[in-house]
């Protein structure tokens, strides 16, 4: 095979890699995109999309189960996992086709195969050398486990959990972060007895404490058990089940143990080390324009320390492409990236937690919490939860935190408020549509601006 050149060679066709590819192509650069598996990567095939399909099936199940509360004579007779997979795979396939179409339209040179970074700005695939004016590393992440805990059989990671062809009777979920909480929520809706084990003192420990409390309250009501602040010590499995032991001495019996203790950077065995890419605990280190220590070598997505989110990958990929094309993109404010946990109820946030804001701005930070009990649309949905705002002293709103069914969609507005550094007084005059859940955001800003409408002043 002859060697090939391009303006940009990208290793890995996940969220970060393909976004860089598309944006670079739009800007007139020639792009080679190397992917060993499927365009779209983790998010499309094993992450965001399939999990959210499961979560929607779970919502449909809950809705049918609870129909009577709304005067609807509906019956829930269980879940047909083959049908769920058909639905889920259908969604993935359609989006996958769309993505492939976009790659074609952008005239991306798509190379199927496993690439190795060979130093300089060259990636080698099956002996062929692809040399770019620039290289972007975007090899993503993998499900981690704990020392001594081997995946296999009844001990599974999210990849296998997505393919399960039955609904477990009892499951233990190790890890109360976003992935653990989402699967716990799905299974509970499908009828599984779930227990979450989290070493840190609360569920969704990266969120504001307020959000953890709200979520824990909701999970308690849903009879999703959780043990926080307790360490896992070991798991044993046999034909009948898996038994999970905790530091507390307790043992949990289940059909299945889902290991959701985080995702590690997929940076070993691809030549990074050998080429001298600077790394820390496996993550590729970059400056705020995503440049590694090597000239013309960038990194994006889950291999870069920070939030492991698809849209962060998109944003980073776009930034890198624009920087390479000679535009002047601004560094990304990591706190301005919206975060959503799509469980029932949802947790959504952007900006700083109260604790982080106090660290940054001192103790004069103000906060305001608005309960969804006062929000008509949330009452109609029969969801509870709240909105919490965090405000810098004499400054803008620097943190927005929401818990409740469907509040993930409110993060679009919240994202503008945080990133445009709006003051409560900017939002307050804009009375929100009635009755929507967005009104909860509106009311919170009204109250923070000193002019509450539907709250006690």
């Amino acid at each position: 095979m002859t060697d090939a050149e391009a303006d940009l060679v990208i290793l890995g066709g996940g969220s970060g890699g393909y976004a860089a590819a598309f944006r670079a192509a739009e800007l007139g650069l020639s792009v080679t995109l190397i992917e060993k598996d499927k365009l779209g990567g983790t998010c499309l095939h094993r992450g965001c999309i399939p999990t959210k399909a499961l979560l929607h099936a779970a919502e449909v199940a809950d809705s049918a189960r609870d129909g009577e509360q709304f005067g609807v004579k509906s019956v829930f007779e269980g879940v047909d996992m083959a049908g769920v997979h058909k639905y889920k795979d259908g969604v993935v396939t359609r989006l996958y086709k769309g993505l492939q179409g976009l790659a074609k339209a952008h005239k991306i040179n798509y190379v199927e195969g496993t690439g190795t970074f060979s130093g300089g700005t060259t990636v080698t695939v099956d002996g062929t050398r692809y040399t770019g004016k620039n290289v972007v590393l975007a090899t993503g992440s993998y499900s981690k486990s704990l020392p001594g805990l081997d995946l296999g059989g009844r001990i599974i990671a999210s990849e296998d959990a997505l393919k399960l062809d039955y609904v477990p009777k009892k499951a233990v979920v190790l890890g109360g972060g976003v992935i653990g909480v989402e699967f716990a929520s799905v299974w509970a809706s499908f009828g599984t007895e779930v227990t979450i084990v989290e070493a840190l003192p609360r569920l969704v420990p990266n969120e504001d404490e307020f959000a953890s409390k709200q979520l824990e309250r909701a999970f308690r009501r849903r009879k999703i058990a959780f043990k926080t602040g307790v360490k896992f010590t070991g798991a044993k499995q046999d034909d009948n089940g898996v038994s999970v032991s905790l530091e507390s001495g307790e043992t949990l019996e289940a059909d299945l143990l889902l290991v959701a203790v985080g995702r590690g950077p997929n940076t070993a065995g691809h030549g990074y080390d050998e080429a001298g890419v600077q790394m820390d605990r496996g993550f590729v280190l970059t400056d705020d324009l995503l440049r590694t220590n090597l000239p013309n070598v960038y990194a994006v997505g889950d291999i870069v320390p920070g939030l492991q989110l698809a849209h962060r990958g998109f944003q980073q990929g776009i930034l890198v492409a624009e920087h390479i094309a000679g535009l002047d993109p601004k560094p990304i404010d990591e706190a301005g990236i919206p975060r959503v946990t799509y469980s029932h109820p949802e947790v959504a946030s952007v900006g700083l937690t109260e604790a982080a804001a106090k660290e940054k701005f001192g103790s004069d930070v103000t906060t305001l919490t608005y309960d969804l009990a006062g929000n008509g649309k949330s009452q109609i949905l029969k969801t509870s939860g709240a909105v919490k705002l965090v405000k810098a002293p004499d400054g803008p709103v620097v943190g927005l935190h929401l818990v409740g069914d469907r509040v993930g969609e409110l993060i679009g507005e919240a994202q503008l408020i945080y990133n445009w550094e709006a003051f409560p007084e900017d939002v307050a005059p804009l009375i929100h549509a009635h009755p929507t859940q967005t009104e909860a955001l509106g009311e919170a800003h009204l109250a923070l601006a000193g002019k509450p409408l539907h709250t006690h002043g």
């Binding site: 103000t366 400054g395 709006a422 923070l448 002043g457």
Partner: protein, 52 residues
Amino acid sequence: GAAAPPRGGYVPLAKPPVRKLAKELGVDLHTLSGSAEGGVITREDVRRAAQP
């Protein structure tokens, strides 16, 4: 309740995206007087101020 309403703090007379633009262009809004109704600082005011 009877508690005094929380003070919102100072809001420069520009819409949030314009404030954000000013920040990116290094324009100090306090040095501008707005050309729009009510003294509101517009995008054009900021762009003009940003010109070398």
